[in-house]
């Protein structure tokens, strides 16, 4: 009941709409902001053509071609049976739509395209019992011109999943960072996504409040967790 009231209030409140607009503007300037290091900027521009390729595993940023890291991961000694079963269930349902990045004890990471994330997240909630999100973390990869947003999902209702954390990662273009929100599937992502918006400038389409949250009210710089933002004096 409270969430409905919240949303109604947001819709009716002109102040909030204004501040929303304001924030959008600051983000626009933020994305077009040229970093002090112009060579880095050039590199970003030349890479932008590769933005449509499927998400590649993140750790392999500098070492070798994409895919070498997945090979390395699958070479790891015997992936645990239970986690393998969960991962198998996901890939049986979605096939090529979902890329299994790694299976470790108590941890599974999958990568999906932004267009499929709602479908996959709904499946994880309704069929597998991952009922809440623990954290949403955005990571900036300027060399690949992408931002990765990763949702760490856990389960309170299924006892055998208690220690499991399933991370579902998706990537968006850095210059026009937009992702569909998961708030309608996981209410618990509300503040995490809002924080990701202000810290990395990822606009969550459908989120009621893509607004300032932790930063000062008069913050007029680029989103601080982007890599081109440097702490003064460091």
């Amino acid at each position: 009941m409270s969430s409905e009231a919240d949303q109604n209030n947001n819709r009716n409140n002109n102040c909030m709409i204004i501040s929303n607009e304001f924030n959008k503007n600051t983000i626009d300037t933020a994305t077009t902001f040229s970093p002090p290091n112009s060579r880095q900027h050039l590199a970003v521009v030349s890479n932008s053509s590769s933005s449509s390729r499927p998400p590649s595993p993140p750790p392999a940023r500098t070492v070798g071609p994409p895919g070498s890291s997945t090979a390395l991961r699958t070479k790891e000694p015997e992936p645990p049976v239970f986690e393998k079963g969960i991962a198998g269930e996901i890939s049986a349902n979605f096939g090529q739509m979902v890329q299994i990045i790694f299976i470790k004890p108590l941890r599974i990471k999958v990568a999906v395209e932004p267009s499929n994330i709602i479908k996959v997240a709904t499946f994880l909630r309704d069929n597998l019992g991952f009922d809440h999100a623990e954290s949403v973390a955005g990571t900036d990869y300027p060399k690949e011109d992408q931002i990765e947003v990763i949702y760490h999902l856990g389960s309170y209702s299924r006892e055998d999943l208690a220690g499991q954390v399933l991370s579902i990662a998706t990537r968006t273009n850095r210059d026009d960072a937009r992702l569909p929100t998961l708030i309608n599937i996981y209410k618990s992502v509300e503040y995490h996504e809002r924080e990701t918006f202000e810290m990395l400038g990822v606009y969550f389409e459908g989120h009621p409040r893509n607004e300032r949250f932790l930063l000062p009210e008069d913050w007029a710089d680029i989103p601080p967790l982007r890599k081109e933002f440097r702490i003064k004096g460091r």
């Binding site: 009922d131 996981y186 932790l214």
Partner: protein
């Protein structure tokens, strides 16, 4: 009522402009904090209809320090002292999961004695935090004895931690690979003696505070967070356990030596503010049992930390590790690109997650119940802001 409508219609026919009272005119907007002593370094804006809260909008960030950005400039060891600043009263736990994650990334093994000392320090520190929180909860319920007693007893644990780590509040004790130093002579006996005293005190706490009819009247049935809502909102720690979900990271994902310890997850099903205030108390009592077992099972001698290379680093990869802190699950998500500095650190803290329950609980409650609900959420603003 018809009379009024008729008169309004008549007046409008005559060309008069009539302004009706709208909903907005009846509401009063009230900013609670950040200077308000009852909110900590935190502000939330409430709208009141008479005595009832009809809207609540949290506005954190007054103590945001950019911890996550700061980690990208320092190496894995240099990061420890500043990462404990978000919650100095629970500084061992907030560096615990960081150390676990760094160990997973770099492949460092912790010696067995080091694992026990870590667990002991984190249990002691959880007591320090919970006593501090209980003191604040007591004073905001107008129960000043409950402010004095925990503040005094907290000193015992601070003294123990001082003997163990060398610092009273900010210990920087957990490091990747173990703990900074070994326990001092006679620590075990001193610790056991103080636990025995403390268990007696806990009985007195229960009598004077939790069985106090005034405290019960103010907290029972106030701010109900149902089990379904608790799961949906993804709350954690005592807030979750008070809603009837027996979930504790120490049980769900036992780290270090916790799989050798026999303890019960404390939870209640009443889901009100009293339950949220009582579950931390039950945790403190259970923590005494855990401490006895840890002291009993700790190996007599051995290394307390692994030998580290100058700048620990591992292959590129990522790790997400959690511990149970005083405010619930405390997780670190660390991405390493193979250099000694982390590429990205995300701290997932209980306070930030429990903040989502605040508007949910406050809307529909009376303003007078606000401190009862707010402080029972076990919310630490500095931790939530990071």
């Amino acid at each position: 009522m018809e009379d009024l409508e008729d008169r309004i219609n008549e007046s409008q026919k005559m060309g008069m402009q009539i302004i009706k009272e709208s909903d907005d005119d009846r509401l009063m907007t009230l900013s609670v904090g950040p200077q308000h002593p009852g909110s900590g370094h935190f502000r939330f804006v409430v709208k009141l209809d008479g005595d009832y809260i009809v809207h609540c909008d949290p506005d954190p960030g007054y103590v945001h320090r950019g911890e996550e950005k700061m980690t990208e400039y320092r190496n894995f060891i240099q990061n420890i002292p500043h990462l404990e600043r978000p919650v100095i009263h629970d500084s061992t736990n907030i560096t615990y999961s960081y150390s676990l994650a760094v160990e997973e990334l770099t492949g460092i093994e912790v010696p067995r004695r080091g694992q026990f000392i870590r667990a002991i320090a984190s249990e002691l520190n959880r007591q320090v935090y919970t006593l501090y929180w209980l003191a604040i909860y007591g004073i905001f319920l107008g129960h000043s004895t409950m402010f004095m007693w925990p503040t005094g007893d907290r000193e015992l644990f601070i003294d123990l931690l001082e003997a163990l780590t060398g610092a009273r509040v900010t210990h920087a004790f957990n490091i990747p690979g173990g703990v900074r130093n070994d326990v001092p002579n006679g620590f075990k006996d001193r610790c056991l003696r103080q636990i025995s005293y403390y268990e007696k005190r806990l009985k007195e706490y229960e009598d004077i505070f939790y069985n106090n009819p005034l405290v019960r009247q103010r907290t029972e049935g106030v701010g109900i967070l149902t089990k379904e809502d608790a799961i949906r909102l993804g709350v954690t720690g005592s807030v979750l356990r008070a809603s009837g979900v027996p979930y504790d990271i120490r049980k769900a994902e036992p780290y270090d030596v916790y799989n050798e310890i026999d303890f019960k997850v404390q939870y209640m099903k009443t889901a009100d503010s009293f339950a949220r205030a009582y579950v931390p108390f039950l945790d403190m009592r259970e923590s005494c049992h855990i401490l006895r077992q840890l002291l009993d099972k700790m190996p007599e001698a051995g290394e307390v930390r692994a030998k580290l290379q100058a700048n620990p680093r591992g292959p590129p990869g990522e790790a997400y590790r959690r511990v149970e802190s005083g405010r619930g699950s405390l997780g670190y998500y660390i991405i390493s690109d193979g250099t000694p500095k982390p590429y990205r650190v995300k701290i997932s803290v209980g306070s930030f997650r429990n903040m989502l329950a605040l508007p949910h609980l406050l809307v529909g409650a009376k303003m007078g119940d606000m401190p009862v609900i707010y402080w029972a959420l076990n919310y630490w603003p500095v931790e939530a802001d990071r």
